[in-house]
């Protein structure tokens, strides 16, 4: 691999690395798990620990004082997690340079394939992962200090996060719809333990809901995939290519409409579950509120979008086979319902991590709405929205994790005067929420503007849908503004907070703002990506 002679090898490397490197890092973490104690004993200790916690119905502080030399080692370990985001980002940009004029790169006989959408998504994954992994050391440090994380738990955390990144990267670089499904299901399994990593009642509950609901949903998506495959086979596509996305797109007009319709419905429902769309959305607030903050950031920032990117891929097939009307109605309906639900639940929200989770649903439904509109402008806006939301939401979640550590509560009503207490952190959180409320210069404004413009331009009732959506967004905005203001504003006494923990957050905010001002070199990529999914 080191000897990159031919273009094919290079592209194969670029396509493989985003998934392989995180996997390798995960493996390295797994091997480097501290072996100071026999594994079985550690397990037993952990088990008793968990039981004691359960009996006390709350976290019991079992502080294991780290030895001095271990501390630096652990810090290095925490920072090593930045390798994979860096690799994903690099591969994403290198691929972007290749495909931003509309071409694509293939490897392993089409199993892996990168077009502009892939590059775009890789860039988003890489950046969000950079923020999440960059703020992980501070978060883990806080967890260790509070005695909530043993060395083993931290190590397992790293392994799972890296595996999670690998699964998501695989989901965007594969061209095979079956592999895409496998990769997305894999994210569920990997993150289940991250959601439940604290062994408390609530985290177990969240993990159970997460796994059951997502697995059920994703199973439906598989059924849909099977039906599409069936339709493809009946349309005369060979077995090897019947799940190949480019082939399906090229020959979608020959697919049987009735079967495709059924398949697409199931796929939208199924991947919609992972994307936080109604009706299988309910895992989302629970999982996001229980997962460690960096993981919440990853889940909300990219996992949802990766799942949605799958829907975008299927949408191209469906539109070619059925005309745009079907997915439009389906997606618009789902988007509106989701938006209404998210807005309603934001209104009386009392937990700030759940608040952020519902805000994710709000934004995913906007993206879904853009997909329903389906014009080039709308699709570009959707992709830009994916990026902007990923950045802003990951910053918000990472900041919320630190806030949780500082204040010790996730209740909005119990947090006061945060700006006075921890100005840099609260400032980052506030700005992230401002970005999520779609104020310029953050890119979410530009994308919402684009979606609205596209929506009114589309006609055929979508104007009304857009109007209702805008009203619901207003409701969500009001709820978000009131809650956040309550947390941040007011008098407070300054507390110790190292500003160094805030740099990943500021980086994310700066990136989000920069995207909102000018896309610069990404302009072509965005347009090519929108073109790749039918814009």
């Amino acid at each position: 691999m080191l000897h990159l002679s031919g273009g094919a090898t290079a592209s194969a490397f670029l396509l493989t690395a985003p998934a392989a490197v995180p996997l390798a890092v995960a493996g390295a973490y797994a091997l480097a798990t501290p072996r100071t104690r026999p594994t079985a004993a550690a397990f037993a200790a952990e088990l008793t620990e968990a039981r004691q916690r359960a009996s006390a119905q709350g976290p019991v502080l079992l502080v294991e004082a780290p030895e001095p030399d271990q501390v630096s080692a652990r810090h290095g370990q925490d920072w090593a997690g930045l390798v994979s985001p860096a690799v994903i980002l690099t591969c994403g940009s290198l691929l972007a340079a290749d495909v931003d004029s509309g071409g694509s790169q293939r490897a392993y006989s089409g199993l892996l394939r990168a077009d502009a959408l892939t590059a775009w998504m890789l860039l988003v994954i890489g950046t969000v992962a950079l923020i999440a992994c960059g703020s992980a050391p501070a978060y883990l440090h806080g967890e260790r200090d509070a005695g909530r994380a043993s060395a083993r738990a931290v190590s397992r955390y790293h392994v799972l996060v890296q595996a999670f990144l690998a699964a998501m990267s695989l989901a965007v670089v594969t061209a095979n719809l079956g592999v895409l499904w496998v990769a997305i299901e894999a994210t569920t399994i990997v993150t289940a333990f991250l959601v439940g990593h604290r062994h408390t009642r609530t985290s177990v509950e969240a993990a159970w809901k997460y796994v059951v609901i997502c697995s059920a949903g994703i199973a439906l998506a598989f059924l849909g995939t099977v039906l599409i495959y069936y339709a493809a086979r009946q349309a005369g596509i060979a077995e090897a290519w019947a799940l190949d996305w480019p082939t399906l797109v090229a020959r979608a007009d020959r697919l049987d409409p009735a079967v495709t319709r059924l398949g697409i419905t199931l796929v939208v429902l199924g991947f919609g579950a992972k994307a936080g769309l109604i009706p299988l959305h309910a895992w989302l607030p629970d999982a996001h509120s229980q997962a460690p903050a960096p993981v919440s950031a990853l889940m909300s920032g990219v996992l949802l979008s990766v799942a949605f990117a799958a829907i975008l891929r299927y949408r191209v097939i469906a539109d070619a086979a059925l005309g745009p009307g079907f997915t439009r109605v389906l997606l618009a309906g789902i988007a509106l319902l989701t938006l209404a639900l998210a807005a309603g639940l934001l209104l009386a929200q009392r937990d700030y991590k759940r608040m952020l989770a519902y805000s994710s649903m709000e934004h995913m439904s906007l993206i879904a709405l853009a997909a329903a509109i389906g014009s080039p402008l709308a699709l570009s806006a959707a992709l830009l929205h994916i990026a902007g939301h990923g950045l802003a939401k990951s910053v918000a979640f990472c900041a919320s994790g630190r806030i949780l550590q500082i204040t010790g509560t996730a209740r909005i009503g119990l947090v006061r005067g945060l700006l006075a207490q921890a100005p840099p952190l609260a400032g980052a959180f506030g700005l992230a929420v401002v970005a999520l409320m779609a104020f310029p210069p953050f890119s979410l404004f530009a994308s919402e503007l684009g979606i609205a413009r596209a929506g009114f331009a589309a006609g055929g009732g979508l104007g009304w849908v857009m109007a209702v959506a805008l009203l619901l967004v207003l409701v969500a905005f009001a709820a978000l503004a009131a809650r956040t203001a309550r947390m941040l504003l007011g008098p407070g006494t300054p507390s110790e907070e190292s500003p160094s923990a805030v740099w990943p957050l500021l980086l994310g905010l700066a990136a989000c703002a920069a995207l909102g001002v000018a896309l610069g070199p990404l302009t072509d990529l965005l347009h090519a990506a929108a073109q790749a999914i039918g814009g």
């Binding site: 299901e185 439940g196 009642r201 509950e205 059924l262």
Partner: protein
């Protein structure tokens, strides 16, 4: 194998497959449910093998056997182990007896069966275009797969025991696999492998979570999982 025999055997297998799903709905003792589920796995394997034999594709037969091993062997084994763990704990938890029975599903048995029949009808209605696209004995049986998917989902929704929910999820999965076989004689191997692996992992995850739940909540009644809400 003659066409008629093949059709009859296939129909028989599919009937058994559907019947097993309905019986799961009927049963209350978790151990019996697991047993029925294993039988369904065998029926599923039979479908795959029959299809393979009909089309004279040895790889399909192999896949069928593999699936049979997974669904009738490994998965029931894992669940039985989890069940055994629950039973062993009886002394520690006073209500242990209730843990192995689905005493009070959210919808009672009679209504469940009625719903199952309605769902089957729905599956037939939905599957019409599927059959029409390529009418063969196999695709004629497609509604069975869809019906099992729906019934599995229904079990998932209405059963209160963690393990019963796992079974529901697996029924759903069985239904999908059956659909895949009946419609297209199975998806490509790499996908099939991935799917099976994922299902296995999902069950493992759920099993571990069941244990943790038992530790944290003292029960595996899913209805007690209500601490996270708005």
């Amino acid at each position: 194998m003659s066409g008629g025999l093949y059709t009859q055997l296939l129909d028989l297998a599919c009937g058994a497959f559907l019947l097993a799903a309905v019986i799961v709905l009927w049963m209350r003792e978790l151990a019996s449910i697991v047993r029925v589920f294993a039988l369904q796995g065998i029926a599923l394997a039979a479908i795959a093998v029959l299809l393979g034999a009909h089309e004279e594709r040895w790889d399909l037969i192999a896949v069928g056997i593999g699936i049979g091993a997974l669904r009738a062997g490994v998965l029931p084994y894992l669940m039985r182990r989890a069940l055994a763990a629950l039973t062993q704990d009886r002394r520690r938890y006073a209500d242990g007896g209730a843990e192995t029975r689905e005493t009070q599903p959210l919808v009672n048995v009679a209504a469940s069966l009625l719903t199952a029949s309605l769902l089957t009808l729905l599956a037939y209605a939905v599957a019409r275009p599927l059959t029409a696209l390529h009418p063969t004995p196999a695709t004629h049986a497609l509604p069975v797969g869809l019906a099992v998917v729906l019934i599995g989902f229904f079990v998932l929704v209405t059963r209160r025991r963690a393990l019963a929910q796992v079974v529901g999820f697996l029924l759903l999965d069985n239904g999908i696999t059956a659909t895949a076989f009946l419609a297209t004689s199975g998806v490509p191997l790499i996908v099939e492998l991935g799917v099976s692996f994922d299902v296995l992992l999902a069950v493992l995850v759920l099993q571990i979570l069941t244990t943790r739940m038992r530790e944290a909540f003292g029960t595996t009644d899913i209805d007690d999982l209500r601490e996270l809400h708005d």
